[in-house]
Symmetry: C2
Subunit: 335 residues, 2 copies
DNA sequence: CTGAAAGCGCTTACAG
DNA sequence: CTGAAAGCGCTTACAG
């Protein structure tokens, strides 16, 4: 299976390489007969242009690098899906990089992506440290932030307004008649999804119920086990809670599992509200009432923003917020 | 941010490009002083070699194309994770392609991957049609099959022995004292995961219980809704079943949901056994007893097989089977 | 150990 | 409309 190149095609078709190239890139500029001849030879020889060579002269590869914490995370996977569909639509491919939130891996990947001449980087679900920002600048590649943002650096970003979303969730719970509401929060050092949701919750408690709910909160890292453990502590401390808002669906499910083991019914005794609306949420018993993040749309919008940058469009909004939505299902009941 | 090339480095360091190149590729062959000089200039100028140019001469890109049905599928995402970690380990990157089982998209992607000069293709979770096989041959790229296989074509593959796994699952249920066992199967036209698991189940019924269980089966496409609907039909037809084996965790959960709505307890009244062991399975109530596929390992092994091919190692096993495992949890009870 | 030159496979002014 | 030539950024024999 010898590689067939443009030279082979040109020879076989009896034209110059320039002509073959033109047939590929601006067919109208080529005499019809020749064009068809070339096209036939291309088919016959099964010629595939070499995108490396082409990229070398165009200085574009139509490839994007995507940094994510972990594909196997349901939330992330959905975001990627949105990115990939959109990239395909614009004729781009995605190079996938799992960082595990590991700075070293990120730096390594960024290096490689630069070398592979990706046209841009989509950076997902991770805070932008100053080292990272410096690296971005040094690489000189367009960067778009998906499901994260930076207040310090001027990087285009797309995410949900987490503070507002959490505020709305708490308000929803209050609207359902709940007064003693706990929260299972992400870590407050996570300024993207931890602190924001925490403050949104607190603000609702303050504004709507005039209470300081700081002691109604336990923390975890968004995982099932974290939710389970947090619920255990929370229940011990505040046995009279009637509802709990969890900063992730997975923690919500962990919480429900603990309550179930204790013979406490959801939503009969305690209502549980999640966050994310991963697929999981609607397949659970009880089906989870939760704050939906438009994951697919976040991925889609991030890539669209990247395209705007690459196409040199005028600056659109730097920091975009996509609408969240409260999905009413069965894990919260009226009180 | 002007692009700095090897030429810039060579000029600045006062050596030839050849020398710069050598410093990068076989540093020992370069005089120490010069080498350090060059290294310093590289650092100073923040030089990043251009992988396109390099790939053009090496005829290798250290990139792999990955065709998958859908990243947002938990099973697939886990497989990809295994691939990506392993690829990284070997110094490779992954270009992600969601096919949605759409032949046209596949063909299109394969075309692009060929043009981008990927070193190989990992094809996942989809049957290999004759058109596809022809395309593979035409492209002349190494292909490895992950979580699928081909009996007709000699393509290296990695998967679980689904027939045996289903056989073991049914046997497990029988061992727990169940005699009237239903199955929610994938479609039999799906010869990879549908027919195989179906036959494995039937074989166990025949060998262990001497019964023909053909009328104990309903079919679905592995999704939640399918499981729900199949369970409904199955229950109507065979109300005296005590256990059901589902060809996916998601369908198992759909089935449980239906039973729950009918006030039938799992595993109290009916035991349910799943397949896959996606993360989901252990977070459910009841925690799902299921057949675990080593998803991460499948991805890992697939990439390892690819590396063997690329490194021209001697042929190892063409069709590999990774061990499945029965994970006992709470959705099946002794009878 | 080091440099000049050719070549990897394309595209793009520049002439004609 | 078409071809020859230069160039994209690297590597690799080939001399020295």
């Amino acid at each position: 299976m010898e590689k067939v190149t443009m030279k082979d095609v040109s020879r076989q078709a009896g034209v110059s390489m320039s002509t073959v190239s033109r047939v590929l890139n601006s067919p109208e500029s080529v005499n019809r007969e020749k064009r068809e001849k070339v096209l036939n030879v291309i088919k016959e020889l099964k010629y595939h242009p070499n995108a490396l060579a082409r990229g070398l002269v165009y200085k574009r590869t139509n490839s994007l690098g995507v940094l994510i914490p972990d594909v196997s995370n349901a939330y992330v996977a959905e975001v990627i899906r949105g990115m990939e569909d959109t990239a395909l639509h614009f004729g781009y491919n995605l190079i996938l990089c799992n960082t595990d939130l590991d700075q070293e891996k990120m730096v390594k990947y960024l290096q490689v992506l630069k070398e592979k001449q990706v046209d841009g980087i989509v950076f997902t679900s991770e805070p932008v440290t100053s080292e990272l920002n410096e690296l971005f600048e040094q690489l000189g590649l367009p960067v778009v932030l998906a499901s994260t943002q930076s207040l310090e650096y001027n990087l285009p970003s797309v995410k949900v307004d987490d503070e507002k979303a959490a505020y709305d969730a708490a308000t929803y719970l209050i609207g359902k008649g709940h007064r003693k509401i706990g929260m299972i929060s992400g870590p407050t050092f996570d300024i993207i999804s931890g602190a924001t949701r925490y403050y949104g919750f607190q603000r609702a408690m303050k504004e709507k119920l005039q209470i300081n709910a700081e002691n109604m909160v336990e923390f975890g890292s968004y995982r099932f086990e974290d939710g389970y453990n947090a619920m255990k502590k929370l229940l011990k401390r505040k046995p009279d809670m009637t509802a709990v808002f969890s900063a992730s669906d997975e923690m919500a499910v962990g919480a429900i599992t603990y309550l179930h083991e204790e013979g406490i019914s959801v939503p009969g005794d305690i209502s549980i509200m999640g966050y994310d609306n991963t697929k999981f949420a609607s397949m659970y018993i009880p089906k989870l009432t939760t704050v939906a993040q438009p994951m697919y749309e976040i991925g889609k919008t991030a890539v669209e923003k990247m395209m705007e940058q690459l196409e040199g469009k005028e600056e659109t909004t730097l920091r975009s917020y996509l609408a969240h939505q409260i999905i009413e299902r069965d894990s919260v009941r009226e009180r």
